[in-house]
Every structure is written in C-alpha cells, then in structure tokens.
C-alpha cells in the first residue's frame, strides 16, 4: 500500500488552512475551508481503497469472496459532502450579506471585532 494518497490528502487539508491564514478575502477564506475539507475526502477514500477491488454492489458477479473496496468510507465521504454543502453555502450567504452592508470582504478592512 502506497502512502502517496495519504500525503496528498493531508497536504490538501494543510494547504486549505494556510490559505485561510493568508486570506485577504472572505470568499477566498470560505473556499479554502472547502478545499481543506476536500482533503478529508481524499484521505477517507484512500483509507478504503483496495487495488483491484471492485465496487461493493453485491449481486450475480460480486459475491462475499470478491475483493471490494470498503463501502463504509464511501458512505462517510458522501455524508461529509452533504455536511460541506451545508457549511459552505451558509458561510457564503453570510459573506454575501457582509459585502452588501460594507462593500468589502477584506477581513483587514472589517476590523470591527478587536477585543
């Protein structure tokens, strides 16, 4: 088993976090959050992958003894995508409102929360 997909997954997560840390634009920050989450998809799918395994749909061609990829992580990934859709759309809606009220989405110009 190669470690390459794990490294890619973790790198995507980290790049997303670095993107948020350097962000000058809230839309950019929210998209980076979403990128960070895509890293978790890669990671989850890599965990369940089995070279040569087929899709786990049991029927006439696939039986209990056939090599299949792990369906659990795929279910997790699908759930994860739904969660991500909810979070991203919610946060983008908030950014939209900020842009409407303040005409800027630059966190440096929105410094109303110092404390």
């Amino acid at each position: 088993m190669s470690y390459y997909p794990y490294a890619v997954g973790l790198a995507i997560v980290l790049l997303g976090i670095i993107g948020i840390a350097r962000s000058r634009d809230l839309v950019h920050a929210v998209v980076c959050l979403s990128i960070s989450q895509s890293g978790t998809y890669v990671l989850l799918l890599a965990v369940g992958f089995d070279r040569g395994g087929v899709a786990p749909i049991f029927g006439s061609t696939v039986s209990r003894s056939t090599r299949v990829v792990d369906p659990v992580v795929q279910a997790l990934t699908l759930t994860d995508i739904v969660v991500s859709a909810a979070v991203t759309s919610m946060l983008l809606a908030v950014v939209l409102q900020i842009a409407k009220r303040r005409d800027t989405v630059d966190p440096d110009q929105l410094r109303s929360l110092e404390g």
């Binding site: 840390a21 929210v30 890293g39 659990v72 969660v83 946060l91 009220r101 966190p107 109303s112 929360l113």
Partner: protein
C-alpha cells in the same frame, strides 16, 4: 416500557425538533407570531419531557438504540450506528431543553420580523445537540457536531443588518468547521488503523495500537471538540461570537454548547483512550490546557468593558476549571463537576438575559458608556439589579447556590487525590471572574467608580446591538421571568439534597468503561451496583465559598477604584503591558485564528507524546 424499547425510541429525540423546525420553516410565514412561538415552545417541552423520561429510565440501565436495527453480530462485527443514552448525555439534553425554553420565552418581545426563522434555527440547534450527546460512534459525533455548528453560525448572524454580527458568525463558522475537519481527519486515521468507528469497539481495539497512531488520532479527534469548548489557544472565536450574537442565543452558547464540546472530548478520551498508553499524556494535556485557559480567561475577563464580552471570557475561565477537573478523573470530582455545570448553565443564562435586558432598556452594554450617561436609575430597575447581583455573587460561589457546592465537591475530591493546589486555584479564578462581573454591575446599576475622560465612547464591537423592538422604560415580565426562573434553578442545584449523590452516581456510570462496552456490544445494559455516597455542603466548603466571595469583592473594589490607588502601587501592580499584548492577540482576524489552531494542535500533540 423496557430499556430496550426506550433505546429504540432514542432517535425520536432528534426527529421531534427537526419535524418542528421543518414545520415552522414551511408554514411559519402563514402563522401568527404567537402560534409559531407556541409550536416551538411545545416542541422543546415535549423533547425535554421525553428526555426526562429517558433520564429516569437510564438510572437503571443504559439505553442503547441501533439505527435501522443494525445490531452488532459476532460474524460481521459492528456496522450499525449506535445511539447511547446514559444519564450524562440525557441530562445534557435536559439542560439544553431548559435553556432553550428560557431563551424562547425571553425572545417573545425580541424579534418582530420573521421570528419563525429564529425559532426553527433554535430547534435545529437542539436537534444537533441531542444527536451529538447521544451519538455512540466517532463519525456520527462529527456529523451532529457540524449540524449543531451550522445552526449556531446562522443564529450568530441572525441580525443581518449588523456587519459585526456577520463577521462574528464568519469567524465562528470558519474556526469551528476547521476544527471539525481536523476531527474528521482524526476519524480517518483511526478508522484506517482499526477498521472501527464505534466507541465501544474502539475501546477494545485501541490499547493494542502503536503510540504514534494513538497520539495523532487522539489529538486530531479531540481538536474540534476543544475548539468548540473554547480551550486556549482555540478560544478566539468565542468572545467574538458572544459579543455579537443575540442575547438569547448567548444563553445557549455559554450554558450548554461549549460544555458539549468538553463532553465530546471527555467521552472520546474516557471510552476510547483512557486504557491505552496515552492516558498519562492526555491527563497532562487536559491539566495544562485547563490551567492556561482558566488563567487567560480570568485575566481577559477583568480587562473587558463590554458586558457580553466580559461574560464570554468568564465562560472561558470556567471551562478551564471544568477541563482541569476532567483531568483528575475520579467519580467524586466528576460528580462535583456535574453539579457545577448545571448551576453554571443556569447562572450564566440569568446573567446573559440580564445583559439582554440592560441592552434593551439602555441601548448599550458598555459599562463606561452607561456609567457616563448615568441613565440607569436603580430604583426603577431594582428587580433587574438584584437578579444581576445575585447571579454575580452565585458565580463567585456564595452558598447555597449550586456553583459553590459543585466547586467544593470537585476541589475536595481533587485534594484527596493529591492536587492540594485545587482550592486555591478555584478561589483565584472565581474571584477574578466574579469580581469583574460585580464591578460591571456596580458601574452599571450603582453608578459608582471613577469616570475617566480619556476613554473613548465606544471601543468595541457588539456594544450597539441593533434592536428590533422598543421595550419602553420597564422591563417586560416575559424578559424578567426566564431570568428569575434560571436563578431559581441555580439555587435548586445547591439545595436539592439528593443532587450530589445522583451526580456522583452519574459520574461513576460515565467512567464505567466496561459497562458501556457491555451495553453497546453485548446488550447487557445494567449498571454495577454503586455505593451510596451523599456529600453535600460541609462547613469547610461553606468557608471556602465565602472566602472566594470575599476575594471577588476585593477584586471588584480594587478594579473600581484603580485610579485612586497610591501611585507606586498603580504603576507597579497593573498588568498593563501584558494586557496590551493580550488585546492585540485577540485581533478579530480569521487568518490569525487559523494559525493559532495549527500551533495549538502542534502543542497538544507535543504535550500528549512527552
């Protein structure tokens, strides 16, 4: 009804608020305000009632339900999703339902336009909290954690006219979701090594894992929960969100949501990791993070002038204390913690509702602004002032309010374990936070303390909260009543003689890992017989409690009259330079918070591994 049936009915606790919320969102615009409000209240009460029935049944046996009937069987292992209701998780649901009822009653005169959105979001929030408390596997915990999060972000940014509210919601959303994704990475790491997600199953597999897997899996897994629990250095979002969120929402954030984060960390640690070789490292992590959080929260609390932000930092300080107690790990200490948590939730709720009333009456929660304007006449607002004062004193630990009792039980248990510093630590932190709250109350209601001219009118955000409704010059009963109700609950927590016994037994059940595993995997849901213990107020604990109230009074007076102290003391004592650094660290910028998150994860991993 048997425990097995009750276990199968656990999903109803999640479905009920979701149904109510969908109903409100679909039909809300056609319903009159009162009806929508009534539906929300009835749904929460039903949920609370069902949780209470579950709570009383869970006294005899754990309630375990498998979604879709996918029970574990010997050959295939565990594939289903388990919901586990014990007294701790069902008790947390009860606390959440109680606080939501108080918040909804308070909000009767708070929103005029489209209140059904607010009610529906509150119900979704409840559903998320219920699911998180009941979830029996690490992935389901993540899902409900995010559901609870999304509802909370939306509630924070409810007032879309207010840009700082929106920015608070964005900071809250990004930091918390980032934490949740790290938790998900932890789930992936653990699943990759063990092939299991169920907590009970993990508790049997994890002890055989290598240390590197354990450290990485554990730290990532609890990262999201520590972010939610606002543990330093993951705490930055909390004061931003509390400063700008509508006051009834703050009640829930401080009273139960952040505590649920701590519950998540404690649950995962206790069931999954406490019998691995990581136990000592995790203990150290909780202890150090707890101490730092309590210290920093208390200092920042003293430095605030915005009442809502001040209360938010007091919450952070108290969470630090909670985490320190969690580290100790005995049933007696956890029992004290449960009493403390209930009383703290009620008191913080009462304080935030008081802040909401102050805001509605006087259009500001900035103590200097109010002190300068001198609009507050204590005569007309006597009820409000007294409520605030009692709640503030209760926070310091004045008997017979439950906070003092909970602290006393926890510190006694910790001292018996050899942590002889525990009472001093708790006295110092309570004195600093309660002293700050008292000072704020003295300035607002009594108008005492020096008015300094060099202070600009508005220094911080969230002060001018946009209000949708005018209340006139009297606080309406619908606002005062829930605050008084919560205050009564905090007294009840200290006065109900059986509560400490029940709490200690709940704690022992929470710590009984073998029992949990047997209940989930083998269907043996009963408890081990526990010895009857009935600690309650003792003379020593009353004296300690009074001492911390006295100390809080001293802190209050000192900070009120700081300008009149002799010059050398004033120049030497105050922590002005560090204070400025601390203020600068809380920059309100999301990028900084993301960096702190990474630093915190690295630090936590180092602490656990060493």
């Amino acid at each position: 009804m048997t425990a097995a049936t009750a276990g199968q009915l656990l999903p109803l606790l999640i479905l009920l608020p979701v149904t109510g919320a969908t109903l409100l969102l679909g039909l809300g615009r056609y319903l009159p305000h009162g009806l929508a409000w009534g539906i929300a209240i009835v749904t929460v009460c039903l949920n609370g009632g069902a949780a209470a029935v579950g709570f009383s049944m869970a006294g005899h046996a754990r309630l375990v339900g498998w979604l879709g009937g996918w029970r574990p069987d010997g050959a295939a292992g565990v594939v289903g999703i388990a919901l586990v209701g014990d007294r701790v998780s069902l008790g947390l649901i009860l606390v959440a339902a109680g606080l939501i009822v108080a918040a909804l009653i308070f909000s009767w005169r708070y929103f005029t336009t489209q209140p059904h959105h607010f009610h529906a979001l509150m119900l979704f929030f409840l559903a998320g909290m219920v699911g998180f408390a009941l979830a029996g596997d690490i992935f389901t915990m993540f899902v409900f954690f995010e559901l609870m999060g999304v509802a909370a972000y939306a509630l924070t940014g409810m007032k879309v006219e207010d840009p700082s509210a929106l920015q608070g919601a964005i900071n809250f959303g990004i930091v918390n979701s980032l934490g949740a994704y790290l938790t998900l990475v932890g789930v992936a790491v653990i699943y990759a090594h063990t092939g299991a997600l169920n907590l009970a199953q993990l508790s049997q597999i994890l002890p055989q894992q290598g240390k590197a897997t354990l450290v990485v899996g554990f730290v990532l897994l609890i990262a999201g929960y520590l972010v939610k629990a606002a543990i330093v250095p993951f705490h930055f979002w909390l004061d931003d969100a509390h400063a700008v969120a509508p006051t009834p929402v703050c009640v829930l954030f401080s009273g139960v949501m952040v505590e649920l984060g701590l519950y998540g960390a404690a649950r995962v640690y206790r069931i999954g990791f406490s019998s691995t070789e990581l136990a000592a490292g995790a203990h150290q992590l909780f202890l150090i993070m707890g101490l730092v959080t309590a210290g920093l929260g208390a200092l920042m609390c003293l430095l605030q002038r915005n009442l809502k932000r001040l209360l938010a930092y007091s919450t952070i300080a108290h969470l630090g204390i909670f985490l320190t107690v969690l580290a100790s790990g005995t049933a007696d200490a956890y029992g004290g913690l449960i009493v403390y948590l209930i009383a703290h939730a009620a008191l913080k709720g009462a304080l935030f509702l008081s802040a909401g009333m102050i805001l509605n009456r006087f259009r500001s929660v900035d103590e200097f602004t109010l002190l300068k304007r001198r609009t507050v006449e204590s005569g007309r607002d006597r009820a409000l002032a007294i409520t605030f004062a009692i709640a503030a004193l209760g926070l310091a630990g004045v008997p017979p309010i439950g906070v003092g009792l909970g602290k006393a039980l926890a510190e006694t248990a910790m001292t018996e374990q050899g942590a002889s510093w525990a009472p001093y630590f708790m006295i110092i932190i309570s004195a600093l936070t309660a002293g700050a709250v008292l000072r704020s109350g003295a300035r607002i209601f009594l108008g005492i303390g020096a008015v300094r001219d060099d202070i600009e009118a508005e220094a911080m955000s969230g002060d001018e909260e946009l209000l949708e409704i005018e209340v006139g010059d009297r606080v309406p009963m619908t606002m005062l009543a829930p605050a008084l109700g919560l205050l009564a609950c905090s007294f009840a927590a200290g006065l109900l003689g059986r509560l400490p016994t029940v709490a200690t037994r709940m704690a022992a059940q929470f710590l009984d890992i073998q029992g949990y595993v047997d209940a989930v995997l083998h269907g043996a849901t009963g408890y081990r017989p526990e010895p009857e213990t009935a600690p309650s107020w003792a003379l020593g604990s009353v004296l300690t409690a009074l001492l911390s109230v006295l100390a809080a009074g001293v802190v209050c007076v000192l900070s009120l009259y700081r300008d009149r102290l002799p010059a050398p003391v004033r120049r030497g004592a105050p922590l002005l330079a560090p204070a400025r650094v601390l203020h600068r660290l809380h920059s309100g910028r999301i990028g900084d918070y993301a960096v702190w998150l990474l630093i915190g994860i690295g630090g936590a991993a180092a602490l656990v591994a060493v």
